[in-house]
Symmetry: C2
Subunit: 341 residues, 2 copies
DNA sequence: GTGAAAGCGCTAACAT
DNA sequence: ATGTTAGCGCTTTCAC
């Protein structure tokens, strides 16, 4: 069913049908009703491609590129962005990349092709042997884009991030203040900007306090539950001392670590744990431990990234000459129970 | 930049440009290179609306209607669906409804307008005073649709669900086998099909075992952490006995409940907990409790729903005369430590 | 108030 | 191998 067929059935011109569809006031009531009746009867729906081509408008869609939709932190960010988008009458094209370069590239091209109004981009690992042409294309096509939570080296797009280095620096300082023993640092891959920054914050304290090489050890995981568990096993097997100090730079790995720790906690006289980012659940699990952590303002940065994007879209500026890089801070929560020592 | 302008700049016809764009082999190499050079130079991108209108094709998009993207269970389902979709070269339009009827309606209309190839629909509450015209429109427009996890009364679309009633029936039977004390049942709103089925399963056991009205009590929450916490407070305040038996029909509420329980657990000689659906985290929290639970095959039903949808799309059948209603079962995990009594 | 017709940007016969 | 042109379905200007 197209407009022509409807017009014939209603004994009017296509122009009139079009007017009815678009609620043009200057079509006579009787005509309008007749046309509407036919449209309903034959369940006529205008072809949106034709409409947009003709009107020269594009859909209100924004693209959302995410490494792992199933990670609760990203999921919460997506939720915030969805809700904001709905209010502004945008729909979201969701692209789950699993952190893979090729998928980021593929999806970016699709988003450009779909003429999305803007893109919120959470990158995966930075791969130095790749040239990220898709991001250059984004620029070339003047598609408004903002980074969220992570960024890509060499691309100075606007973005909203946690102040990872600073927060990590403070957490490390806090934990080393009370526990000058050997500290284990469980890090994510340094090819991810956020993990890298957290590492740098850790290292900064280590250097400032002149902690010797023997007094700290760094382990690298992949952000997943299992990886935290496995690294935990490893550490617990080899750690001889009866005091344990550990700093885990990521939430999900912390859960995995705690799982294995719970099975072995009796071995230790004193356990001190620092975790970058707390959740309701972690909070419950840590109930009786000594720990240092911080609230993760992940929903906040998500909200801000959307606001930033909307601003870019509405004011149609895409050139990021004066880059807006927003860093979100948070406060450290210190639950080290001094009395117990 | 449109095809005409490019054709002029390259001194060829629009047809030739179109051929280059579509990789038609019968364009001479030299011509091809010239055109490509111009296209690159002016960063030409075909207008996809025009292309689709002309070719009469539609985008490979499927719509995903979800009540709460930030709920980890739904997030995991979305992840599975995204990954499957990517393999089949579909992109996902994500619609977060917060379970609200009006949003479901709004998004459904958008999806129809966008001519999506299919829809996976997780409904929120059933509202009996609404007429769900948008679902009738889906049918009228022959958009392939499948329900996931929950369904809507009166619409016999294909769908994939947990076998809620049966699982709940078994959990209840299991828990009442060993703990014939008063049992509290924390339910979600009965306007949600899955919660309703779980309630029915609970009730079936209650009736079969002829449990008296004094021996059970039902509380209604809203699926959120806080709601579990609050109902927990309520129960713990009023429960006089030193043995506590409770069955929580939902994962997130269970977490909230456990939070308040942990603060009060010393009051009880014996605590038995049943939870509909376990997660890594719950597992850790329940470590030392008596509990009954089951794995939630949420990723499985998500995968199946996508497969079902793809099948409908590829074989373009939309009439759900022989409805495919797939129920997924799971096994009960019983960790009640008999020895301790 | 309504209709005729040009145009949106592209594709695909058909012609050369 | 390349060009001409009639569509795709809708909007919109200009007549009447």
């Amino acid at each position: 069913m197209n407009i022509k067929e409807i017009s014939k059935l209603a004994n009017v011109s296509v122009a009139t049908v079009s007017r009815v569809v678009n609620n043009d006031p200057k079509v006579r009531q009787a005509t309008k009703e007749k046309v509407e009746q036919i449209m309903k009867e034959f369940n006529y729906k205008p072809n949106s491609y034709a409409t947009r081509l003709s009107k020269g408008v594009t859909d209100n869609i924004i693209g959302l590129i995410v490494p792992d939709v199933g990670n609760i932190l990203f999921a919460e960010m997506i939720e915030v962005i969805s809700n904001q988008a709905e209010k502004e009458n945008f729909t979201i094209l969701l692209c789950n990349t699993n952190g893979e370069y090729e998928k980021e590239k593929k999806f970016t091209k699709i988003l450009i092709d779909y003429k999305v109004k803007g893109v919120i981009y959470i990158p995966g690992k930075y791969e130095s042997d790749k040239n990220y042409t898709h991001l250059k294309e984004i620029s070339l096509n003047s598609v408004p884009i903002v980074f969220l939570d992570r960024e890509i080296k060499g691309f100075d797009f606007d973005g909203v991030f946690l102040d990872n280095e600073n927060i990590s620096y403070n957490i490390t300082k806090e934990i080393l203040k009370t526990t000058p023993k050997k500290i284990y640092f469980i890090s994510g891959s340094l090819d991810i900007s956020s993990a890298n920054e957290r590492y740098l914050g850790f290292k900064k304290t280590i250097d400032e306090l002149e902690i010797s090489n023997e007094e700290y050890e760094i382990k690298y995981g992949d952000f997943k539950f299992d990886s935290g568990y496995r690294l935990g096993e490893d550490i617990l097997k080899n750690h001889k001392n009866d005091e344990l100090t550990i700093y885990i730079a990521n939430n999900t790995m912390a859960l995995g670590f705690l799982k294995i720790l719970k099975k072995n906690s009796k071995k230790f006289k004193r356990i001190t744990i620092a975790i970058f980012g707390i959740s309701d659940v972690l909070d419950m699990l840590l109930d009786e431990e000594n720990y240092i952590t911080c609230k993760l303002p992940n929903k906040e940065i998500a909200k801000k990234s959307f606001e930033l994007l909307i601003d870019k879209i509405k004011n149609s500026y895409t050139c990021d000459e004066k880059r807006k890089k927003i860093l979100c801070n948070t406060t450290i929560i210190n639950r080290i129970n001094q009395k117990s020592f």
